[in-house]
């Protein structure tokens, strides 16, 4: 039985109210989803430097135009070498910053003199395409202070990472979003 004080809800008003409700519900769901993404229980893709074989596929297999995999540098591990095999081409004609001597195809590693015989190397990440040439050079001759990581401000966190699908060493795995990086040189001393 309808109360005489309550006006009857016509079909149009019912549909409008329903649509508003659905929109609000959607907004709530979206907000909830965003909160869930940053709450720490979510997972993100990351490269394990201990498994990485520096194959170069990170540069070519990412769905982004420029890969989300970037070279990072653990300065505490670096030997600050004059002949840095992560910086110089194997057949470099001279140990200077001439383009023909540089290993990085985009010139993303910057070399600066510190004192004899030490040089500092910094990665200009926006230029880095994640090709891992420097990482392979560093690991082949040095201690691996140059290493690849997926940058989460760039990664779109695909459900199935296309680099992980192709990675021959199974080095790219889901890790907790609360601990999104696997950095070199952080292991406790044994």
């Amino acid at each position: 039985m309808t109360s005489p004080e309550t006006p009857a809800l016509n079909r149009r008003e019912f549909l409008a109210a329903g649509a508003r409700g659905v929109c609000l519900l959607g907004l709530g769901g979206l907000a909830g989803g965003l909160v869930a993404r940053v709450s720490g229980d979510d997972q993100v893709w990351q490269i394990d430097p201990a498994r990485c074989t520096w194959c170069g596929l990170c540069a070519t297999e990412c769905v982004l135009e420029q890969s989300a995999a970037k070279c990072l540098h653990a300065h505490a591990m670096c030997g600050y070498c004059k002949l840095c095999t992560g910086f110089f081409e194997p057949r470099a004609t001279d140990l200077n910053t001439g383009a023909e001597n540089q290993l990085c195809p985009t010139g993303a590693i910057k070399r600066a003199y510190v004192e004899d015989p030490y040089y500092e190397y910094r990665v200009d990440e926006p230029l880095c395409i994640g090709c891992a040439r420097c990482v392979k050079g560093c690991n082949t001759f040095g201690n691996g202070s140059l290493f690849l990581q997926i940058r989460h401000d760039i990664c779109v966190n695909c459900n199935e990472c296309s680099i992980a699908r192709e990675c021959p060493a199974d080095a790219i795995r889901r890790v907790p979003a609360s601990e999104p990086y696997r950095l070199q040189g952080e292991e406790p001393e044994t």
Binding site: E65, K82, P90, L95, P105, I129, C131, N139, T140, C158
Partner: protein
């Protein structure tokens, strides 16, 4: 003439909001599609161009080879760590909690069990052994009984090599980048190798835990200044005498961050060097001029991945420790097989 219904303010705002919403939704969809559309093969970098290829550098021109490989000697040890020339033509090999004395003439090997794994070993004239671990010098009698233990006085030591003469023991400390001198009684005497403008010493640059020393027949200590890609000579009192070596990937130079990793001195004073990265064992003359190659990467490393798995220090590369004998044979310690690889001068075999 019939006219349209008047557009009320409410209807106008509703229509405008709906339109803006549609535009925003379209923009968001476009952004998502653009970000996730994937790159075409043409848009991706050429993988071959990005390769880091050392294949050509791993080949040694045949005319530079001055040694032949002979059948290896099985050490029978697990986790081999070091090799040194022993008394009476023997070789000392260290491994997991053991030292083994091997005879190149095929005599029965003698094993000495230890409670620790040696980083390096050196025979003393009286039959005892000087052995180092990461932080400690230990002097053992011939049965392996510990006679003396001596800690490095201070700093953050990482001991990598021990050698000596009739009076002194000298120890390479990669952690402190110094050479430490002890007496045969295990008492610390002095340290040297820091940058020294008065003595013209360049200072040791040791980026990784490879720092080898040996004493040549001229009585001078030869040390690998790996970060400078040089071999340097010092008196046992720490006076810098001379050095040689250049840095490049070329066969006559030393490559990588830190080479040569190991050295040995032949009977006539020439130096045998062993490198990591591009595993090369080479011979240099008394004044440091390049003479030739004992073994190159293609001879030494048949499966690099397997070699790296077998090496506990593979994060800083792996190299072959070397020793030599009175006939200038070169012995290279193969961590993969646990064998001593034997190389003989051409003309000897």
């Amino acid at each position: 003439m019939k006219t349209n219904d008047a557009l009320t303010r409410r209807n106008f705002i509703e229509a405008g909001a709906a339109g803006a919403g549609l535009v925003a939704a379209g923009a968001a969809a476009g952004w998502l599609v653009t970000r996730n559309r994937g790159t075409t093969p043409e848009e991706r970098p050429d993988h071959a161009v990005l390769d880091y290829d050392l294949t050509e550098l791993e080949k040694v021109p045949p005319e530079l080879m001055i040694y032949n490989e002979a059948p290896p000697i099985a050490t029978g040890l697990h986790g081999v760590t070091c090799v040194a020339s022993g008394p009476s033509g023997t070789l000392l090999v260290g491994g997991t909690r053991a030292i083994k004395t091997l005879s190149v003439n095929g005599a029965q090997p003698q094993a000495t069990d230890l409670k620790f794994t040696p980083h390096d070993v050196h025979p003393l004239p009286d039959g005892r052994f000087a052995v180092i671990t990461r932080k400690r010098l230990i002097i053992l009698d011939a049965d392996g009984t510990v006679m003396v233990q001596a800690d490095v006085p201070d700093g953050r030591p990482f001991l990598t090599a021990v050698t000596g003469d009739d009076e002194h023991l000298l120890i390479a400390d990669a952690g402190n980048r110094e050479i430490l001198r002890y007496g045969h009684d295990g008492k610390f005497q002095m340290r040297f190798g820091r940058k020294n403008s008065e003595g013209n010493a360049p200072g040791f640059v040791i980026p990784s835990p490879y720092f080898d020393i040996t004493i040549a027949s001229d009585g001078l200590v030869r040390a690998t200044n790996t970060g400078r890609h040089r071999v340097e000579a010092y008196t046992t009192n720490g006076s810098y005498e001379f050095g040689w070596g250049t840095a490049s990937m070329a066969i006559e130079s030393f490559c990588g961050c830190c080479n040569p990793c190991y050295i040995s001195v032949l009977t006539d004073g020439r130096t045998v060097t062993s490198e990591k990265g591009l595993n090369r064992i080479k011979i240099y003359g008394v004044d440091g001029e390049f003479e030739g190659v004992v073994a190159g990467p293609e001879h030494l490393v048949r499966d690099r991945a397997e070699a790296e798995r077998a090496c506990e220090d593979c994060r800083v590369g792996f190299a072959f420790d070397v020793a030599s004998d009175a006939e200038d044979r070169v012995y290279a310690l193969d961590r993969v097989t646990g064998n001593l690889r034997v190389f003989e001068p051409r003309g000897l075999s």
